[in-house]
Amino acid sequence: MCDTCGCNQPDGAVTITKIGEKNHDHSHGIGDKTHTHQSPASHHVHTVTMEEDILLKNNLTAERNRGYLEAKNILTLNLVSSPGSGKTSILERTLKDLKSEMEFYVIEGDQQTSRDAERIDTTGVPVVQVNTGTGCHLDSTMIRTAIGKLNPNDHSVLLIENVGNLVCPALFDLGETLKVVIISTTEGDDKPLKYPTMFSAADICIINKTDLLPYVEFDMGLCQKNALKVNHHLEFFQISATNGNGLEKWYDWIRSQVPVG
């Protein structure tokens, strides 16, 4: 039961909320599936050929998002990582340092809480929280609804923090310009070997928490070499969201990607 409108939402349903607003909406599940078995008069077997991509629905909506965002010259980054790699910290820092130069919007994906969205809200940047419930990734329909709530201006930057998970988000195109995979130095340099699908889907790889390099066993060269084996187009940034090392290069890259208005 949804405690805002009282509709009959199953536990784990999706909710999408603009921070600072009271209204909400949610998408309902896959529809009414109840039926009764009539005893069929005949038992003819028929075959229907489909030849259809399983993710067709998601891919179509993603392309629709992409078309909208491209037409408005909005740079859209889909940030993916394991929980705790530093997605929210990198967002907070980037917003604080760059919001005077360009206009930002944020979509925060999380299964249950709106803690990250509240952290972003303190920067003053418009943010929409998508709670995926039991869902382990954002999909293009959630992003479509969230974009509708943000109503972003042309020539801006939309940053999407995906649900903390390196497996599922790899399969779901949101309509982003680029996918950014984030790992931190505490996670081991073999991360690309463990999650090849995500590293092959990403365009950019941020290696965060470089301030901890003296204390952890992490071979930067080996990690990058492993990642390049699955994806030879991957571009790297080594940063520390805590002490700010390497951020200038990351910012220069964002500046270079923003379509000038």
């Binding site: 896959i30 529809g31 599936k33 109840t34 039926h35 078995h37 009539q38 069929p40 038992h43 003819h44 077997v45 028929h46 075959t47 229907v48 050929t49 489909m50 030849e51 259809e52 991509d53 399983i54 993710l55 067709l56 629905k57 998601n58 869902g135 382990c136 990734h137 999909d139 497996v167 599922c168 790899a170 399969l171 779901f172 070997l193 090849p196 699908t197 590293f199 092959s200 390049l228 084996k229 699955v230 030879h232």
Partner: protein
């Protein structure tokens, strides 16, 4: 677990088409899944059964046909079968390999009565 979403997508799409054909039951579904698509077949089968409950696809059979992964070397332009995304070219040993097949996620067909 994205296998749940995959299962829901399959069942939704098939039931929609089946209803257009006035089907009483869906009896089997054929999928083509690439070896490198990132899908665990056991997990997909498990999710599929629970998604089918109380639908016209209840107790329908899911047949998963896996599609072998093929890579193409960026330099030599030769194609070869690959076992993982960490594929290197058997000729020049470089890792600049484009996966040309093996990432498929496709509903081939289904049977109904």
């Amino acid at each position: 677990m994205h296998e749940m979403t995959i299962a829901m997508n399959v069942v939704d799409a098939v039931i929609k088409r089946a209803q257009e054909n006035h089907a009483l039951y869906v009896t089997s579904i054929e999928l083509e899944i690439g070896e490198l698509a990132g899908i665990l077949n056991d997990s997909l089968l498990f999710c599929f059964d629970s998604v089918c409950k109380n639908t016209i696809a209840e107790s329908c059979k899911l047949n998963i046909h896996s599609v072998p992964a093929i890579g193409k070397c960026h330099h030599c332009e030769i194609t070869f079968t690959v076992e993982s995304l960490f594929a290197f070219c058997p000729d020049c040993s470089q890792f600049q390999v484009l996966i040309v097949s093996g990432k498929e996620l496709k509903i081939k067909s289904f049977n109904y009565e």
